[in-house]
């Protein structure tokens, strides 16, 4: 019958914090008048632990505790049963954001409508300098066959504010082989623990190329990456699960040698 229902939230960036009032309107538009049994608005906050494709069998075997954890729920009836007139009807609503019981509100890091912010953290800058040469590499099979190179650089801080970019610099001082590509790889490490043990899963969530081709030697290339809003959250450690982040600097040489340097990050929100 062409009745369209839409929920519009007042705040443009759709970010709300605990204790705040979530407000908006329900918009009903239809050509003809509509008979209805009342409009009920339910708000729900969930922590959903999903089975990753990699760890299927393993989880099923030992873990029954990965049920969705409800952290927030509330429901209001905004309109009593009746009839909507034809045209557009807007019904305003408000929800207080209160945590259920003694649970903590965690920040969502993907695809849910509402972003919820827990307590504020503090960040102190922790710069890291690095030098990459064939000698500094681990996990090398034939160190002798590696072409010579010297890459220096630094990250301005591994303690990052989630809304600020990751910054730094990288200089290729010397490289025997031509450079094909330099990338920043942002990795999320999720750990799920329960009485039976724990499962660890690392996912690449963003990959940013910072150098394309054989870059000029001795000219610093900026390291710059904005954290994706939906896939990152402050580093989190609870009894049930852990969410951590790492960045890899990946250098691909023209002869297809792959050099990776890993830096754990600590994300927080100020």
């Amino acid at each position: 019958m062409g009745t369209v229902l839409d929920i519009k939230i007042k705040r443009a960036n759709k970010v709300y914090y605990a204790g705040e009032m979530l407000s908006g309107v329900v918009v009903i538009s239809s050509k003809d008048s509509v008979q209805h049994q009342g409009v009920l608005l339910t708000m729900e906050g969930l922590v959903n632990l999903q089975l990753s494709a990699k760890s299927v069998g393993m989880f099923e075997a030992f873990c029954n505790s990965v049920k969705p954890i409800q952290v927030l729920t509330s429901s209001i009836e905004i309109v009593k049963p009746g009839k909507f007139p034809s045209g557009k009807t807007e019904i305003p609503f408000e929800f207080p954001l209160h945590v259920k019981g003694n649970k903590v509100l965690y920040e969502t890091y993907h695809g849910v409508f509402v972003n919820i912010q827990p307590q504020k953290g503090k960040s102190t800058p922790s710069p890291v300098d690095f030098t990459i040469t064939p000698e500094t590499l681990q996990n090398v099979k034939e160190r002798a066959s590696l072409p010579k190179f010297l890459i220096r650089g630094h990250l301005n801080s591994t303690n990052c504010v989630i809304t600020q970019p990751l910054t730094g610099e990288l200089v290729v001082e010397y490289s025997e082989a031509a450079i094909k590509n330099i990338e920043l790889q942002l990795v999320r490490v999720e750990t799920c623990g329960c009485a039976e043990g724990y499962a660890r899963d690392a996912t690449e969530i963003q990959n940013i190329q910072i150098a394309d081709g054989d870059v000029c030697r001795n000219l610093s290339v900026p390291i710059y990456m904005i954290f994706p809003r939906l896939f990152t959250c402050p580093t989190l450690e609870t009894t049930n699960f852990k969410v951590e982040f790492e960045v890899n600097i990946v250098v691909l040489l023209h002869d297809d040698h792959l050099i990776t340097e890993n830096f754990p990050l600590k994300l927080c929100r100020i």
Partner: protein, 937 residues
Amino acid sequence: MAAFPWHSRQRNYKTELESCRLEPVPLDFGDYHPLKPITVTESKTKKMGRKGSTSSTSSSSSSSMVDPLSSVLDGTDPLSMFAATADPMTATANMDSSRKKRDRDDNSTVGPDFEPWSCKRGDILARYTTTEKLSINLFMGSEKGKTATSSSAVSEKVRTRLEELDDLEEGSQRELLNLTQQDYMNRIEELNQSLKDAWASDQKVKALKIVIQCSKLLSDTSVIQFYPSKFVLITDILDTFGKLVYERIFSMCVDNRSALPDHFSPENVNDTAKETCLNWFFKIASIRELIPRFYVEAAILNCNKFLSKTGISECLPRLTCMIRGIGDPLVSVYARAYLCRVGMEVAPHLKENLNKNFFDFLLTFKQIHGDTVQNQLVVQGVEIPLYLTLYSPAIDWILQCIAYHAPEVLLTEMMERCKKLGNNALLLNSVMSAFRAEFIATRSMDFIGMIKECDESGFPKHLLFRSLGLNLALADPPESDRLQILNEAWKVITKLKNPQDYINCAEVWIEYTCRHFTKREVNTVLADVIKHMTPDRAFEDAYPQLHSIIKTIIAYFHDFSVLFSVEKFLPFLDMFQKENVRVEVCKCIMEAFIKYQQEPTKDPVILNALLHVCKTMHDSVNALTLEDEKRMLAVLINGFIKMVSFGRDFEQQLSFYVETRSMFCNLEPVLVQLIHACVAFCFITIPSLTGIFTRLNLYLHSGQVALANQCLSQADAFFRAAVSLVPEVPKMINIDGKMRSSESFLLEFLCNLFSTLLIVPDHPEQGVLFLVRGLLNVIQDYTWEDNSDDKIRIYTNVLHLLSAMSQETYLYHVDKVDSNDSLYGGDSKFLAENNKLCETVITQILEHLKTLGKDETLKRQSVLALSFFNSILAHGDLRNNKLNQLSVNLWNLAQRHGCADTRTMVKTLEYIKKRSKQPEMSHLTELALRLPLQTRT
């Protein structure tokens, strides 16, 4: 004696003529006749208004003879319909332009003295071309079959969007191989269009995808010689995208009441707009590859204005640094050029960033000679000199941005930095292209020195000389250096082996030569050009440059006697052997001649040369020549003919006309011009003749010729001259040794003149019937012989003339000349004037008849009276009582004294009776009854 008002009979010459012809046989409608027109009758069904069209449909209701073509045009012509519904494109374009105009007033935008990118792009596209096959590599994955799952729709939507973005990287690959340059350009244009379409249909993700894919093409350096053009094409798309995003966010800021002012601050931007803007930046920040991420962000740089005041000034340095990550020096320098371009558009006051880009470029300059680049060139088979020229548009642009309103100190510093680098010819060239011409010109000798020192195998030297020449065409070097500069430069230029390289330099340097030196140096240069371009017909590939040389020379040499005394000028013209080019050049020369030649000339050098030039133009005319072209050529040739004057030497003038007539017989306007000239010649020559009647007749003939050629004022002058010559006609003239009275000749001449005067239109500044009045005065004052009635005969003829003149349509016309009938269109004032004249003339005639009442002149009286009667019968409207009475009186007068010839009288009466049977002539019956026939007793 009472005055008789004249009423001339209304004549219908056409029916009178027809009545003398064979009777036409009417043809019945149904009859067959091969020449009968084909009649198409269209049965019209009512048209349905086209769906969605806003223009109303007008249905024409004409029943017969509807041209099937014109019927298409009624009302719903798709083109006019398009124009009628206010075209949204033009509307926005207008808005744009008005916005731009307002912007220009502000000092935060670039002034009009900054040569915009749009001027450059055409040159780049024309210069950097390839015949090699190109490829476009797109990863536009097929739209995923999105069967939206019903649960948690919102997050699902976000997820698919993100997947789509990822899809760019992993999705199915579409590779278009073996494209010609034109194909490639078409494809890019298609992409540009699909970007606009996607945007218009609200597929923002698809639009972004297209832009990303397009900018990705810029990381591909295969077919490297095409790279600059590819850059131009793709940055066009980026510009489109940038504009779309900006306008979209801008439109979101429009609340119910008012739009955002042009110079808004971020506080005035509402949250929704800010959030949308922020989303774009986040999306772009997550693009994996460096080059697309850079270009797309640069494209929407302007959108930072919505977020914060300092956004742009923070972004520019970051983007500048980001370019350091681009390994290929050519790709990176173009990225810099793009950033500078966007920067100049969005925030021209931020200069530091421009300098930073240039210094960064200098830092990477050594990469050009690195192994990576060299290997690539070997693979592609591209020579270093060619490769280096690929950098020019980008470096030129960056330097131009830097040099715009920059202090001298900065320019000097930049130049010094360039000098320090090895193989600086490339940079030197860009410095010359981008910096102020005055700056370069004052240091010309330094530059020549530097150019000479450049490595032979590097950047092509002729380009350096060309750039220097371009500067010297705009600004003057110090006086003392001028000759030395020319000598030094030409020494190098003349040694250039490749004719194209040579002519490209010569084309530029000719301006400098013309500007500062005399015809001697120009001649030398021309000789040198001829020497270089003649072997192997090299000139065939250099027509545009040679043409430009001619244009430059004629722009400086306005004195054509000097120009044509440049010995090599005509031999230079001979190099234009392709006809259309040749004609174009000739046109240029003639245009310049008409523009600059102030005084008439008879200089044989100019005449010879220009006759040659004009002949070339004339000879190009053939059956296929367009009318416009012919008109153009004729105007030019006429301009030349008008400027030729031999003063009092009429014979030479005439012989010149004869010569030109034979030369330019294909162009009608030129012939008309010559007739003008010849008519003028006649006018001057006639007074020198002695025979008075020869003169009179020649005036009349020349006048007729002039009239026939639509030279109205000339004709007028001839007739006036003839009229004023009449009083000088002597009474007796010598004919074949005998003295004879001249009156009969005069009578004959005047009658002839009258018949011509009928069709001579009145002079716009003189009174009505000016010539006829003048002639009447002359006749009045002329001393006629006492015993002659010639004066009255003439008056009678004048009456005939005036009657003919009062007709609605005259008996005859000269083609293309409007006579008084169409000029006055039977205006009552004109007719009144005409009748007044008639009245005077009649009075004169009647008075004369009265004087003939003596015995010895009764015979004459009778003859004149009858002749006047006949005139009235032929030309007068006898329905008028007074005229009717007058004619009866005249009839009686003719017979009164028995002098009339009875047979004539009888015949006349019979004629009247016969006439009375014709339609509308019945009143003559009554008249005939009133005309008694006297029999001599």
